[in-house]
Amino acid sequence: MTNAASTGFQTFSSLGDTIQSWISGYNIPEWLTITIFLGLYFGLAVILAIIIVYVLAYTERCITNVFAPYNAVDEDESKKHKILMPLAHFIKLFLKEGFRPQNCQNALFFVSPIIMFSLILCAFCLIPFGSSVIFLNQNFSGLFFMVFFLMALAIRFLAAYAGGGKFSFIILMQEIQENIALSIPMLLCLLGVSIMAGSLNINDIILAQAASYGIFGWFFVTELIAAGIFFVCVLIFFDKTQLYNLNAPVDTVFGYKSEYSGVKLAIFEFCEYLMLFVISLFFVCLFFGGYLSPFGAYILPEFLIFLEQIFWLLIKTFLVFLIIIAIRIATPKLSSARLLEISYRILIPLSLINLNISILIQYFSGVR
C-alpha cells in the first residue's frame, strides 16, 4: 500500500490491509485515510483496554479475598461476588473534585495522565496477537516496545514534578534512581533473547521458539536466568501500589500520584493495571512462546487459527498476572536503598553473564 509506505509504517497484517483498502476505496486524501485508520485503532484499543482492566481489577479483588480475608464481616456477605466493584471504584473517582494545588505546573499537570495512556497504547500495538493479526510489524519492534514502555514509566517523574509539592520532589529523586537501576537488566535480557532468536522483531522471536516439541522449544528453557531477572524486575516495578489498599504506601504519601484527584487519578490507576498487563504480554512473547500452543500444533482449522492463537496468548498472560498479584500481596516491600543494591550487585552482572552465554551458544552452533 503506497499510502502507508510513504509515512514510513509498514502494515503487514491482513486485518490492517482489509480495513485500509476499504477506507481508501472511497477516494479520500491520504492524510484522512491514515487518521481514520489510527482513530479506529485507538477507539478499539480503548474499549479493549477498559474490558481488560475491569477483568484484572476484579481478579485482584478475588485474590485479596483469598489471601487477606477480613473475618469481621459476615461470612455469607463476604462470599458474594462483588462483580461490580471495579465499576463502583472508578465511578467514585470520577465524581470527586479535581483539585489543583497551588504550586503545580499547569500544563504538565493536565496532560501527564493522557500522555501516559497514549504511550501505553503505542506499546500495546506492537505485540503480535497472532501470526496474521499484527498491527505494526517493524524490524526493531522489541526495542521500540521497551522504549515506549520505559517512556510511560518516565511519565511518573513528570507527574511527580508537576505536582509541585515537597513530598513529590523527594519521591521524584527516589523514583528516578529506581527506574534507572531496574531498566538496565530488562534491556540486557531482551538483548540476550534477541541474540538467540536472531532479530529484535517480536514476531521473529516467537517464530524462533516454534518447534515440533512444543513447550520445550520456548526460551524459558534455554534462557532461564534471563526469564528470572525479567520477572523480578517486573515485580519490583509494580510493587508499590495496589488498587484496593486501605493505607497508601507509607513513606511517600501516595507516590507520584499524591497531588492528583478525580479523573486524573482514575486514569493513573487505570494505566498501572494496563502497564502490568502489557509488560506481562511482552514477557510471555519473549520467554513463553507468545501465541504458540504448548502442544506444538494447533487444533482448529486454518482459517480459524487466529482465534486459537489469541486464546493461548491471553491464557498465558493471565496466569503470569495472577502470579504477580499473589506475590505482591503476600510479601513486604523492600526499602529503596536495598533495591538499588540488589539491582546493581546481583541483577546486572547476572544479565551480562546471560548475554555472554547466549553469544557463545550462537557462535558455536553456526551463525544465523
Partner: protein
Amino acid sequence: MREVTKDKIAVKIEPNHPITRDMIGFDVILDGEKISKINSNLGFSHKGIEKAGQDRYIGQYLPAIEKIDYFAPFFYSHAFLSALERLSEIELPLYAQYVRVLTMELNRITSHLSNLGRFMDVLNCRSAAFHFFNMQNEILNIFEKISGGRISCNYYVFGGVKNNICREILTEILNFTSKFKEKFKILQGFTKENPVFLDRTRNKGIIDTQNALEYSITGVNLRASGLNLDFRKEKPYLLYDKLEFHAPTVFEGDCYSRFALRLDEIKISVELVKQCLDWLLSNCEEKCNLEIKLSDICPKAGAAVSFTEGPRGLIMCHVVSDGGKKLKRVKWRTPSFYSIQILEKALIGLNLADFAVIFDSLDINSSEADR
C-alpha cells in the same frame, strides 16, 4: 519547594499523615535524604482528662478514662480504681481479681497484635496484616460478649467488676487459647523468618539501656535494650505474685528486638490467661454484683499512687481527694509521652523511609501522650 535553604529542605509532617497515622505533627529538616533535625508538636488530641477528673463525679469519670488510650482501656480503668481502692482500704474479692487479670491480659494481646498488624501494613504486606487483625477480632468479639463494648467496655467498678462471666464465654476463651499455637507459627513466619522484615528492622533505631533509663522509658522498649524491669514483679498488684510467668529480655535494642519481644509477650499472656481460666472454670457461679450507686462513691481523704504495667510501659495514677464526691487532683503518667522524646534522638541520620519503622516499633499513641 520554595523553602529550600542551601541543601536542606524543611518538611512538615502534619497530623493524620499516612506515615504515622496518628495525631502528632513533626517539623523535619532533611539534608538530602537524611534527617538532620526533628521537632515534635503535641497537643492535637488534648482532651483535658485531668481537668475532667476534677469536674466529674467518680462514676462519671470512669468512661472518660477509657478514651485516654483506646487500645488499652482496661489498664487505665484498673490504674484509677486501684488507686481509689488503696485509698479507701478496700480489698477486692478473689473472683474479681481473677477476672481483672484475665481481661487485662487479653487486652495486652489485642494491643500488641494491633501494633504488629499496623506495622505489616506499613510494609505493604496485606495478607500478614489481616492475619494479625483477624486474631485481634476474635478477642474483640469476646469482649463484646462479656461487657457489650468491643473496644471501650466500662466493665470495672469500684470494688470489683460489673457482672460475672458465664461458662459459655469461658469455653470460648479456652478454644481461642487451644488454637493459638498453630496460628502463632504463622505469625512468626511472617515476622521472624521473613528476610525483608529482618532487612527493614535490623540495626535501626538502637537505644541503649543508659539512655533509656535517663529518658524514663519503661516496658517493652526497656526490656529490649537489656534491662529486665517488669512492674508486675517489682510492685505486684492483683495476683501477679501468685501466677507464674517470666518476661524475657533481649539485648540488642534495635527495632527488630522490640517487635520480636512483643510477639513473645503475646505467648506469655496466653499462658497467664490459661492459668486464670483454670480457676474460673471451677468457680464460675459466684456472684459479684456490687450495689453502689455511681454518684455516691466517696473515697476517704488523702492521696495514693498506683503502678500498672501497660502494653506500652508504666502507667501511674496519682489521686488526691479531700473526702468529697469529686476528686481534688488526678495525675496520669503515660508511657508514650516519654517515647516521643527518645524518638527525636534516635532518628537523626536516618531516611524518611525508616521514620515509620521506628515510630511503629516504639509503640507511640498520640492520644495517650496528649491525654
